[in-house]
């Protein structure tokens, strides 16, 4: 079991469950306020939330950078064109 604190009426596991919607800004306002209060008093959740958001950002940055440096598939397009036109 995860170590837990109960702050602002939320346990750490409640904050963990709410984290994606909280970061996306779509959590209901009362819930958002309580998550903020929990984070202000819980260094575990505050640090983990930052790492979670940062991990999503790092994934996006690295995968997109990598994709931009790859060539486009001209050969595939030519083969598909040939297959569907019969030429």
């Amino acid at each position: 079991m995860m170590r837990e604190r109960n702050i602002a009426g939320l346990r750490c596991s409640d904050v963990l469950e709410a984290l994606p919607d909280f970061l996306e800004g779509i959590l209901p306002s009362d819930r958002t306020r309580r998550v903020h209060e929990h984070l202000a008093g819980c260094d575990w959740c505050e640090r983990f939330g930052g790492e979670y958001a940062g991990a999503v950002g790092a994934l996006r940055r690295h995968i997109l950078e990598q994709a931009e440096s790859r060539p486009s598939p001209a050969d595939v397009r030519a083969r598909v064109r040939s297959a569907i036109t019969g030429r």
């Binding site: 995860m2 963990l16 469950e17 994606p20 979670y52 991990a55 690295h62």
Partner: protein, 185 residues
């Protein structure tokens, strides 16, 4: 989505059903990059990604009539691409179970631990290696939602699941990605 002449995806697909090759190619022009980005991540190597792309495009040409005009064409294309990728890709052995609790996943991802995960994620090789050990379901949801920035609804449609199931899968996939990155030397 539409191109500069105002040709929408739905109209492109209607013309494709009638055998209009040019309309189909314009549809492919609009979505080829995202298809390829996803296929490159879901398959084992470049050759497999190219094979899967070719299979996807041919299946889209032949199956254009099955597109329901009220949905997203790129989600429909991605659904076909995922099937193509699955044929090129065998799920890796030894994946974590799908039924782990959120608590267990969070602990593996570093909850309560004094780690410096973000410093590690500066290194592209760590990100790539951590992403590579995920199974194709986790990689697909991360790619569409977090890398490509698709909406929750469109991502769920492309994966053929409901919005709540997609959100749950996304949260777990992110935690598995973090756990994998922590474990990389």
């Amino acid at each position: 989505m539409q191109d500069e002449d105002g040709l929408t995806d739905a109209e492109s697909l209607r013309r494709t059903v009638a055998g209009d090759v040019a309309a189909f190619e314009r549809l492919v022009d609009r979505h080829e990059r995202v298809l390829l980005r996803v296929l490159r991540q879901l398959t084992s190597d470049e050759a497999a990604a190219m094979d899967a792309l070719q299979e996807t495009l041919l299946a889209a040409w032949r199956g254009a009539a099955s597109f329901r005009g009220d949905g997203s064409a790129r989600a429909w294309l991605l659904g076909i691409a995922r099937h193509s990728a699955r044929r090129q890709y065998r799920r890796r052995a030894g994946q974590p179970g799908r039924s782990e609790s959120l608590d267990t996943l969070a602990e593996a991802a570093g909850f309560g631990a004094d780690t410096r995960l973000l410093e590690r994620l500066e290194a592209r090789e760590i990100v790539n290696a951590a992403f590579a050990v995920l199974d194709d379901e986790d990689r697909a949801v991360l790619l569409l939602r977090d890398v490509e920035g698709w909406s929750g609804e469109e991502t769920a449609a492309a994966l053929g699941i409901g919005l709540a199931a997609m959100k749950s899968r996304l949260h777990r996939a992110r935690l598995r990605f973090m756990a994998a990155a922590r474990s990389m030397e």
